[in-house]
């Protein structure tokens, strides 16, 4: 009986530890994919973000960044799906008004990048959300070049 108790406790502990490891969102490969997308259009890497929806417990992840007029920014996305299905990115302006989304409502398509030809310097909000997917881990990268 003692042994059964020990084995049971060990299984529970092992499961808990394994579960904790699985829950971690390692974005290294996603970030690399995002950086790769900058190269063909000669964007320079500026910043990377971890997009961790914590196994679906969190609906949105939001960051902010000052974009500058006269620069073109490419915000690339990656979430483990080849076509970034289920990862929606929305760019909001200083007043939190949506400027653009990576998801096109009319065609119901997810896109893997958003390009902003910025004409107004200010704080913008980068909002990431998941939509009908089990890919709760991803990354996003900002690249920039002169207009």
């Amino acid at each position: 009986m003692k042994k059964i108790g020990y084995v049971f406790a060990m299984i529970v502990a092992l499961f808990a530890v394994t579960n904790n490891v699985v829950a971690q969102c390692d974005v290294t490969s996603y970030t690399s994919k995002c950086v790769e997308k900058l190269k063909p259009q000669s964007y320079r890497f500026v910043k990377s973000y971890k997009v961790d929806f914590q196994k679906g417990k969190v609906n949105d992840v939001e960051y902010s960044y000052v974009f500058s007029r006269g620069s073109t920014y490419l915000i690339t996305l990656s979430n483990g799906d080849a076509k970034t299905q289920g990862l929606r990115f929305t760019l909001l302006d200083t007043d939190k008004k949506a400027v653009v989304s990576s998801y096109i409502d009319e065609t119901k398509t997810f896109n893997s990048a958003v390009q902003l030809k910025c004409q107004r310097t200010g704080v913008y909000y980068l909002r990431y959300s998941h939509d009908k997917t089990s890919n709760y881990c991803g990354a996003s990268v900002i690249g920039m070049k002169r207009q």
Binding site: V66, N111, V114
Partner: protein, 296 residues
């Protein structure tokens, strides 16, 4: 049997402890021994534009690299407090980006050496993967890699400091980096003019506001934060007459889909800039004074 139940309960307690560890870290008291915990709104701080943007613009508009613009590595021995180390880590980080953008390998290595030494002094070198940085330096045909690795490492430092509740150090690093970027752009603008650079300097008023807002919320947490806030007063005053106004016209924002990209052009926005040569001179003087204090 009672003994077995006890063991199971102990095992459960251990598992519970394992999970609760992270939450305990978050709920740290405000003062731990002699260390004052400084929790700063990290997300607001992250919004401050990356200094690499200014270096990038300088190269794109044809301004030549000038090694006299950056802080000399020999100055490191002067930085004997955490406050100075953090500010100058920011300075060298911007210099690294500047040297890297211009493919200056030796200068980049010098800056990395300085960053490493200052990181060790601040006990944050574990967040910086120097082996990866060295590998990236060897990939001379891929300068983007060094940029990615160093900027990602600097982000890790900031995230690590946030976890350690050393937000003040993050704020010093970011402010130092921003001051250096402003110094690079002002020095180049003084020598070469260039409208785009002047626009970029005028636009820094927004980044300055971000920094001031964060410092105002935190200046009472320690004397260095208060000092940094006071030191920025002259730059704030120099920027006071500068005005950048954006006007949104009625026509909608142009959005189109190209491949798997959504492209948006804010053609509907016009910007009016009020920024005189006198304003620029005042900003240059204020930035030079503050930078001299930091690096001296």
């Amino acid at each position: 049997m009672i003994f077995s139940i006890k063991k199971i309960l102990v095992s459960f307690s251990l598992v519970f402890l394992l999970f609760s560890c992270k939450e305990e870290v978050k709920d740290k008291p405000k003062v731990e021994g002699n260390k004052v915990v400084v929790k700063i709104d990290f997300k607001a701080l992250e919004a401050v534009p990356n200094p690499i943007e200014i270096a990038s613009l300088m190269k794109d508009i044809g301004i030549a690299y000038d090694q006299n613009y950056i802080n000399h590595v020999d100055n490191i021995s002067k930085y004997d407090t955490d406050f100075k180390k953090a500010l100058n880590l920011g300075i060298y980080s911007t210099d690294l980006g500047y040297a890297n953008i211009y493919d200056q390998s030796q200068e980049s290595i010098n800056c990395i050496t300085a960053i490493r030494e200052l990181s060790q002094g601040l006990k944050i070198d574990s967040y910086f993967d120097f082996d990866n940085v060295k590998k990236a330096i060897d990939q001379r045909d891929n300068p983007q890699e060094l940029l990615k690795v160093t900027l990602t490492n600097l982000q890790k430092i900031n995230e690590g400091l946030d976890e350690e509740d050393r937000g003040d150090v993050t704020l010093f690093i970011i402010t130092g980096g921003w001051i250096e970027a402003l110094h690079l752009s002002c020095t180049a603008a003084k020598a070469k003019g260039k409208t785009e650079l002047l626009d970029k300097i005028a636009d820094q008023k927004i980044a300055l506001k971000q920094l001031i807002d964060i410092l105002d919320k935190n200046k009472d947490k320690n004397t260095h934060l208060a000092q940094l806030r006071t030191d920025l007063d002259e730059i704030v005053a120099a920027y006071a007459p500068v005005n950048v106004e954006s006007i949104e016209k009625d026509k909608p924002v142009a959005t189109k889909q190209v491949g798997d990209e959504v492209v948006v052009d804010q053609k509907n926005i016009e910007t009016k800039v009020n920024f005189t040569p006198e304003d620029l001179n005042k900003i240059i003087a204020a930035v030079d004074k503050m930078r001299a204090k930091i690096i001296g």
